[in-house]
């Protein structure tokens, strides 16, 4: 039989795709020009690192259905190997250029994933999750016991300014490290995207959906999981290696359960079902840990609440929200929603301001009372002990919530109407 039109192939010149990747590259390039302060440079660097880590994590979670509680083991061990390599380079025992150090991390991640993954990937589902949890706890405990390699809880530090400057690049200034990280990020993201389109990548999805059936079409699901695990370990290791360069110190926390949990939470928050979801998650992760905790003492509370609401109302993560709206936009109906969106955003902000003020006052009373009862919140001065401030905040909150509910009802009516229309349109197209 002949297939006259090969319509399964992607368009050879996919303009949209080139545009997206071009924009991504551009974004990586200009970001440090826009955000120039020391903190923002290091945050940008950390975002790059986190992007690689979260994407590699999503290879397991989103693409392979493997819920791992121990991904930090591979990023972390990658970091350790990289920092030892950096020290070896600095000590002159191993002439390796600094720019290749992250690869050392990658190889280490790959090696450890091959070693530990051999046991973990034999199982799937909750058993897999629990083994990874156990492994992670063990590695973390060992990191405090075997101080030769892990440097105890003081960790291992190094100096990344090693060897001769190469075209003036010493990696002393943070910006130079940022560009190294950006380059790695771009390549790693591209490589991981490419992976989704390979036979192994597709079989990984099949294993996620129905591991039993995979066995009857010739594949060994354990082998598929294992190989994916190793590849994910490699990218995780690269991310760890970059982190070692960026911080010039590696401590036990990099293999800790908290780190693994963060990968899971933020990958999910970004959206595990879409390739780009974890990228958003990674950016948010850095923002949450570095910035949110500086803005407010209540950051953990906010983080918990964000998770609660996101999981309840947007279980597909931010990526799925974006895709839903893109779909609406594709049918040219987004215009009908933007007023609602403005309304939703506005009223939500009002409600949040009210709630935030109250939360901040509580925290202020508990933590910062030494500075007097006054605190600044969104440009206003509140008095944590005065009835007026409390009453005012509550009023703001109540108004916000009430208005929000009104707008929300209107919005959800509009939304379902639009969805129905879209459904009809697609059905009509199918029928043609």
């Amino acid at each position: 039989m002949q297939a006259p039109t090969r319509y399964y192939a992607f368009k050879p010149l996919n303009v949209g795709r080139i545009l997206v990747w071009g924009l991504f590259a551009l974004l990586l390039l200009v970001s440090p020009r826009v955000f120039t302060s020391g903190l923002s440079i290091t945050m940008l660097s950390q975002m790059g690192i986190a992007i690689i880590a979260c994407l590699s994590y999503n290879m397991l979670l989103g693409q392979g259905g493997m819920l791992s509680f121990g991904h930090a083991v591979y990023t972390g061990l990658g970091s350790y190997m990289a920092i030892h390599a950096l020290n070896a380079a600095g000590g002159g025992t191993w002439p390796i250029p600094v720019s290749l150090i992250p690869l050392v991390g990658g190889v280490a991640g790959l090696g450890f994933a091959a070693l530990l993954g051999y046991v973990t990937t034999r199982k799937s589902g909750t058993t897999f999750a629990m083994i990874t949890l156990g492994m992670a706890e063990l590695v973390f405990a060992m990191s405090l016991m075997f101080s030769e390699f892990f440097g105890g809880e003081a960790g291992v530090s190094a100096n990344r300014v090693v060897g001769q400057p190469f075209f003036g690049i010493t990696f002393a200034p943070a910006v130079q490290v940022y560009y190294l990280i950006a380059a790695y990020t771009f390549v790693a993201v591209a490589a991981m995207f490419a992976f989704t389109g390979t036979p192994l990548g597709r079989m990984l999805n099949a294993v996620r959906d129905n591991p039993e059936r995979v066995e009857f079409i010739g594949y060994n699901p354990q082998r598929v999981r294992y190989m994916a695990f190793i590849i994910a370990g490699f990218f995780a290791g690269i991310s760890g290696g970059l982190a070692a360069l960026n911080f010039e110190i590696v401590t036990a926390e990099v293999v800790g359960a908290g780190r693994s949990g963060a990968y899971l939470l933020f990958t999910f928050l970004g959206g595990a079902t879409f390739f780009f979801g974890p990228i958003l998650g990674a950016v948010l992760m850095v923002l949450a840990f570095v910035l949110l905790s500086e803005f407010t003492k209540a950051w953990l509370l906010y983080l918990g609440l964000i998770f609660l609401f996101m999981v309840m109302y947007a279980p597909g993560g931010i990526a799925s929200l974006i895709m839903m709206n893109l779909r609406v936009a594709k049918f040219g109906k987004l215009g009908r929603l933007w007023v609602s969106y403005m309304g939703l955003g506005g009223t939500a902000l009002v409600a949040l301001a009210g709630a935030g003020a109250m939360v901040e006052m509580v925290y202020h009373q508990q933590l910062n009372a030494a500075l007097g009862p006054e605190l600044h919140f969104l440009g206003a001065t509140l008095n944590a002990t005065s009835r007026n401030s409390w009453f005012g905040s509550f009023l703001v909150l109540a108004t916000g919530v009430a208005l929000f509910e009104l707008v929300r009802r209107q919005f959800s009516r509009d939304w379902s109407e639009i969805q129905e229309e879209i459904e009809k349109e697609t059905q009509r197209k199918d029928a043609l």
Partner: protein, 388 residues
């Protein structure tokens, strides 16, 4: 420099395991910033910028970056030697790579002796007494107690605990070779819920004294388990006075728990007034005395340097002698370790003489012996590299 504002970035945990201690210390810094802004020889105003580092070295580096962006030139930290080590390193690199924007690190409680020995650094100044100094004083005290025969070492398995154990063995062997070390255990940090197995083991070993560097719940649970398990020996500790532990000790262990520190709850004088004020204001106890050292030292050094530039202040602070609440102290030039008196105190009922009762327990830490600076002073191997 008169009238200038000196910002000090406080980089310590406000969340996680050490949050109670961190919270207390941030309050202390803010409280005394206000006090010392009112009067200091340099006439500067102190302002504290509190940044939560979650007890994480890497987060601390972020915090440092953020502080630098805000134009901060002085940072302080103390919880966790891992963090301190990372910060010392980062500050050193920063100062090297960014001349003219130097930052000074004021260490208020990180007690790893390495920081003033093998890893000593010009920009780091320690106002606490390090583990070896405290052990020096503690063992001097123990040397006189002839009824101590068998000692058990129980510590957290991380650098601080390991060092306590190491110094205890070394120094006891020197001062009281007749004392038998009947046990030397390390347990994971903040993981153990139930210390009764350790108590059973201690009892089985026949130890009459336990030396422990434990803090927080690791100390309170240990003593609690000891009381329940019928262990009647003494405890020699580093951190009995720290948040949470007094409550957990309760009234049970009167006369059996000793603490070695550079300050205590019943110092009298201005300290007594401050602690009272602190307590009424926050309903919490002030115990991080190094805060006062830091403000005193900064004020005097700035006055001496006639500047708030860390480069000049550091030069002035080196080797400076000043008066603090615990007497004459000196920032030793060779290693930047403050030389100061240490106090042995014991947990007992608060009374007229020693009235201060932490966490309203009705108990107090009563001084039993004072060690002058020269007693607790330890030699240093520091080869300080000075800039320029």
């Amino acid at each position: 420099q008169k009238g200038e504002t000196v910002k000090i970035a406080w980089i310590d945990p406000l969340s996680g395991l050490m949050a109670p201690v961190g919270t207390n210390q941030l309050k202390s810094f803010q409280f005394f910033a206000e006090k010392f802004s009112q009067s200091n020889p340099a006439g500067v105003k102190f302002e504290v910028v509190g940044i939560d580092n979650k007890l994480s070295p890497t987060e601390s580096l972020n915090a440092l970056k953020s502080a630098l962006d805000q134009g901060v030139r002085y940072i302080t930290q103390g919880n966790g030697s891992a963090v301190a080590g990372a910060l010392i390193d980062a500050v050193a690199k920063h100062n090297e790579r960014n001349p003219g924007k130097e930052v000074m690190f004021l260490n208020h409680s990180a007690v790893d002796p390495d920081f003033t020995n093998s890893k000593c650094n010009y920009w780091h100044f320690r106002f606490d007494a390090d583990t070896s100094m405290k052990m020096e004083a503690m063992t001097t005290f123990m040397a006189d107690k002839k009824d101590i025969q068998k000692v058990y070492l129980l510590n957290q398995n991380y650098s601080h605990g390991q060092q306590v154990s190491r110094f205890a063995k070394e120094i006891l062997a020197r001062k009281r070779p007749d004392i038998q070390i009947v046990g030397d255990d390390l347990h994971p940090l903040a993981q153990v819920r139930d210390f009764s197995p350790y108590i059973a083991k201690i009892k089985a070993s026949g130890a009459d004294t336990v030396i422990t560097g434990n803090w927080g719940s690791d100390l309170s649970l240990l003593v609690k388990a000891a009381n329940e398990g019928g262990y009647t020996g003494n405890f020699y500790t580093y951190y009995t006075g720290v948040s949470g532990t007094p409550t957990a000790l309760g009234t049970n262990s009167a006369g059996r728990v000793y603490q070695i520190a550079y300050a205590h709850y019943n110092m009298g004088g201005s300290m007594e007034k401050w602690m009272g004020e602190f307590k009424t204001k926050f309903n919490d106890d002030f115990y991080t005395g190094s805060v006062i050292h830091i403000y005193t030292a900064l004020g005097e050094a700035m006055a001496k340097a006639k500047s708030t530039d860390p480069v000049k202040v550091a030069a002035a602070l080196e080797g400076m002698k000043f008066k603090s609440y615990n007497g004459d102290v000196e920032m030793r030039k060779t290693d930047h370790q403050l030389q100061q008196p240490l106090y042995m105190t014991v947990w007992q009922k608060a009374d007229k003489k020693y009235p201060y009762s932490p966490e309203n327990t009705g108990m107090t830490l009563a001084p039993v012996k004072t060690f002058e600076s020269y007693v607790s002073s330890t030699p240093t191997s520091c080869q300080m590299k000075r800039p320029g």
